[in-house]
Assembly symmetry: C2
Homo-oligomer: 638 residues x 2
């Protein structure tokens, strides 16, 4: 702080050329009038000693009368001048204000609220266009500008905060940006955490409608409100869970029923039946159940599980009307909900307290291992049921009351865990294996996408970011699974769009006919979105690092080509005080599309990560400079 | 103003989420304590009617005593609370401050200085890096930030101004930039004013050492303190005078002596001689003079000329020791100076009050028409004599006292004028004719030039800006002279460096192997300075518009090529809140070299001019957006 204060002081010193200077008398040069007035403003000393009335009674009445008259006049004059003309006593006021400023900043003692400085109102004419109300401290040659104006004019943020205790002074926190930089913990490892995605929580995002029970992956509503599978989002879901699996504590797993060592006492109504039978093929016991229609016939177990909210189960449903039902209580509202998992072609449906997830029409008579975060399933159902003002449910408020089965089917290995990240990860990896366009190698986006100024992308477009993210998922799945070649094949095929120009259905663009670029949005003309490009490079790096031979070389070649472009083009995004999100200004001849601070932070985070695998000082230096922009630093002007 | 104030209001309304809100009682909910205190603070009404002492004498003394005692107590309490605890009466204070703010803004009545608002001190933590002192109005949920901080943090400027009369309220003028936009008056005409150069005054610049008497053009000290001929500056000198000639009033010309119709009574000492003789070749009379050495032998005329300070004369000096001497008085300091013009190889030399300009060693026995701005010659001499704190001489203070000749020679047509812009223009045009490198077509810069991060340019480098400016001068000289082909030839030859790459001694660069660029500084790698490039284009446009046939076509081809590049590359300079001066960030991988506001304004002015000759909306739209940046507007972020 002392360092800044010296800057402040010099700033004021140099401000003499722009402010109208008023002579500032030194303390010793106080005028007689000022001294008199200060004396008048002092609290009479005798008030401390004895009550005024008794003191008066002992004196000659006329003398007292004269004294009091003079006192009234002096004090009245003092008040009049104090109220109306602080500018008559600059010295006194300045000293007072400085002392109070010092007290405010140098101690956290109570009484800070009492500190007040009289300032004058002054009109501030902004660029000769409009006026705002400012304050002026004429003696300190300072003008004060309201933050409500600055916030809007400069797009900065700030808030008054108070410490925990009432003794803590209020403080105004000026934040040039609200975004956060994530410093890499070491060299980037394609087998490890993906960037800082352990902090991501894809499923809680508003634009995630729910986690499909048929696929175990999120359904997006970002560009199409009915919901669709968005490869980029699915990959982020996978990478977040893969990363969390590496950074979080080992989950607590509670095996409820495996028909072998762990058995529960199932409540079986008269018309229903449940049997533990030996499965020859699986070489393990499983549970067979059969009930009539109606909840009252369900076989069930009662629970009071409060923290382990991730349910997994192996399940085979034989008929359409069969289902798994989990009853969950919100202990805060005392309201309970039934989560139904049905063998139906249904994403999510809600009827009062009943929330239905479909396992897909094709799920009948097939064993499925499903993993459900009951908190997410419940929350998404509540949002679906009341879109306007959905109740926000706290995870810690939930209690699993019962698990039940209806209809005809088999189950095994019912568990409740604190988490099951790898199950989610592999659900997503499987999705990428099964949802790739075999001809193009692309994971297509089934929605229109309109970027301002560009021709609309029609459903079926491919994103280099989605491809790269998917490859990052598949490369990890290939490695983590110990070499499941289905993942490798899908990843390898996913390289194909990197080589095809956007106009031909791929994601490739070329800047100034020179540098190859992988497009997050394969627009015409090219848009050159920076963060999506770098994510596409990370996918290539991941595959290059984990795949064998030829596939690694192919990925490596595309990566090197992209890194070359990145180094040549990176500074195109540098505005000297932030970054631009893309290069549409060059493609369309319009204003630059500046990156908001969280995208700017993403740029910084990406460069910091790249700097751990590429020693070119351009990367690290640019990352540092861009980080500085988040704290108000700017490139120099000439 | 009203438009903004509504924005301000909404800004405050929305600020409730970042400020700690305190309950704000409405005026009607004033506490009894507050009402009492307000009453106590009112000035007693009876004071207005009659002297207090007489009033008291007519009342019962004890009653008066009681009254006064109560008054003292109430007022003392009032002062105590007012001094120590403004926060106890937020309502009263707020109302007071609002009313005063209104008065300040809505009227220019006296008493504005009396307005004061008590604010609290609050610490502002800037980006969690350092702290400054701010003010807080807790009731209005507003924090005030000192401008001394903002000026430095955001590089804005501002100053308190007061109107002419003492009744005018002080006002704070917030200026996002101090630079000025020059709106074109119509379609750019290559035969007319060059941009807005009628406002330029090249010779008064500090970095102009003087106007060479040998050449009649400025000598620069910008990159070499001994002084050198800088083609770009010489061209700006020419273009400024050409433009002033078109925009200023016709000068007043005072012919002192032409040996024919205008003759003066010359003071001729005994040892000297002056004769008017007939010059057969010129077919006019001239003056012949011959004096001994020493000022006292000079032939001279006494004058008291105060406004016409541009001297022109036709002069032929026969011997080294011959000279023209002009004596000028500074009427402010009563000090007089002798300006000597000698037939010597000397730029500028000063000995006390004698200021010497050399006409060049080659000037002996040749007729020279010289045109001198005596004010400039005197001022530059004073600077030369006292570099540390040179006296600044006002033009209006000068008086020409005498003109004298010494040695042996001839003269004719002595005039004093208010200005002689065309003479200066043609002096410069001649310089370009005589100082061109015939082999390369370049006007070389005889100094080193070091641009941070680039290899140093060695003496002899050529600038596309200098070439373009020179061609703009020569094209005008060709047209204005009615077709003097010497000017046309030089201009045509000046196109040559536009076709030669910088590495080969020209000024041509190519961006991304694609777009051709004419370099103000032919650096390796290329620097792509924007304003110099556009000036180089204007030269091409000027020649294309004025030259005949083939030369016009050649210039037109280079112009079209450059405009194509400009349109493709213009947005590379757009930072969303300003412009970059060059593209060194792309060439060197460093921070952008942001254009300071006056260069940014030059960019805007240049685009506005180009928009009058090129209808591509990109030019006009970009100019408008860039103009907005000067008023704090920014491109949107996503």
């Amino acid at each position: 702080m002392s360092e800044y204060l010296s800057v402040d002081a010099s700033g004021r010193a140099s401000s003499s050329d722009v402010h109208t200077l008023s002579a500032q008398p030194t303390p010793s040069s106080k005028s007689t009038l000022q001294q008199q007035r200060e004396a008048a403003l002092r609290k009479p000393q005798y008030l401390k000693r004895e009550p005024l009335v008794f003191f008066i009674m002992r004196l000659n009445l006329k003398a007292v009368l004269l004294l009091l008259t003079v006192a009234v006049m002096v004090i009245t004059l003092g008040i009049y001048m104090r109220c109306a003309a602080f500018s008559f006593s600059p010295d006194f006021v300045r000293q007072l204000s400085r002392r109070q400023a010092f007290e405010t900043l140098s101690s956290s003692a109570a009484g800070q609220d009492l500190a007040s400085t009289p300032l004058q109102d002054i009109e501030c004419a902004i660029n000769q266009e409009y006026s705002i109300h400012c304050k002026r401290d004429e003696n300190a040659n300072e003008v004060y500008v309201p933050f409500s104006f600055l916030r809007q004019y400069f797009d900065v943020s700030g808030a008054v905060t108070t410490g925990g205790s009432s003794n803590d002074a209020a403080k105004f926190n000026w934040m040039h940006s609200n975004a956060k930089v994530n410093l890499p913990k070491g060299k980037y490892d394609p087998r490890g955490v993906f960037m800082y995605f352990e902090n991501y929580n894809v499923e809680v995002r508003d634009r995630v409608k729910c986690i499909s029970a048929a696929e175990g992956v999120p359904v997006s509503t970002q560009w199409e409100k009915h919901g669709y599978f968005y490869p980029t989002q699915i990959a982020q879901f996978a990478l977040a869970h893969y990363s969390k699996n590496l950074t979080e504590q080992t989950p607590r797993i509670h095996i409820l029923e495996d028909a072998d060592g762990n058995q529960m006492d199932w409540n079986t109504p008269k018309t229903s039946n449940m049997t533990r039978i030996w499965h020859h093929k699986f070489n393990t016991s499983i549970v067979q159940f059969e009930t009539t229609i109606g909840y009252e016939s369900a076989i069930s177990i009662q629970l009071n599980q409060t923290q382990d909210l991730v349910l997994s189960v192996d399940l085979l449903l034989v008929t359409n009307s069969s289902s798994l039902m989990v009853t969950v209580l919100n202990r805060d509202t005392k309201h309970s909900y039934n989560l139904h998992y049905l063998a139906a072609e249904l994403l999510l449906s809600v009827q009062e307290s009943n929330i239905y997830y479909g396992l897909g029409a094709g799920s009948l008579n097939k064993w499925r291992h499903i993993t459900r975060d009951l908190h997410i399933d419940l929350q998404k159902g509540i949002v679906m049921g009341d879109k306007r003002s959905p109740l926000k449910v706290r995870r810690s408020d939930l209690e699993v009351l019962s698990i039940a089965f209806l209809g005809i089917g088999f189950y095994d290995n019912i568990t409740l865990s604190t988490s099951d990240h790898l199950a989610h990860f592999y659900d997503a990896a499987e999705w990428f294996v099964h949802n790739q366009d075999i001809k193009t190698g692309g994971w297509t986006n089934p929605v229109r996408r309109s970027l301002n100024g560009f021709a609309e992308l029609r459903p079926g477009w491919i994103s280099a970011m989605g491809q790269g993210h998917a490859i990052s998922v598949l490369a990890r799945a290939y490695w983590h699974s110990g070499g499941d070649t289905r993942y490798l094949k899908a990843a390898s095929l996913g390289l194909q769009p990197y080589r095809i120009y956007s106009r031909d259905g791929g994601v490739l663009a070329q800047f100034m006919d020179k540098y190859y670029w992988y497009e997050e949005y394969p627009t015409t003309p090219a848009s050159y979105v920076l963060n999506g490009f770098i994510y596409s490079l990370l996918g290539l790096y991941d595959l290059n690092s984990t795949a064998p031979g030829k596939i690694a070389r192919e990925a490596g070649k595309l990566f090197a080509q992209g890194m070359h472009s990145l180094k040549k083009m990176l500074l195109l995004y540098d505005t000297g005080s932030g970054t631009s999100y893309d290069l549409r200004h060059l493609s369309l001849g319009v204003a630059p599309n500046l990156a908001r601070w969280d995208y700017h932070a993403t740029h910084v985070n990406q460069l910091l990560l790249l700097a751990t695998i590429d020693s070119d000082p351009l990367i690290a230096q640019t990352a540092e400079r861009w980080k500085g922009y988040m704290f108000g630093k700017r490139a120099k002007h000439n």
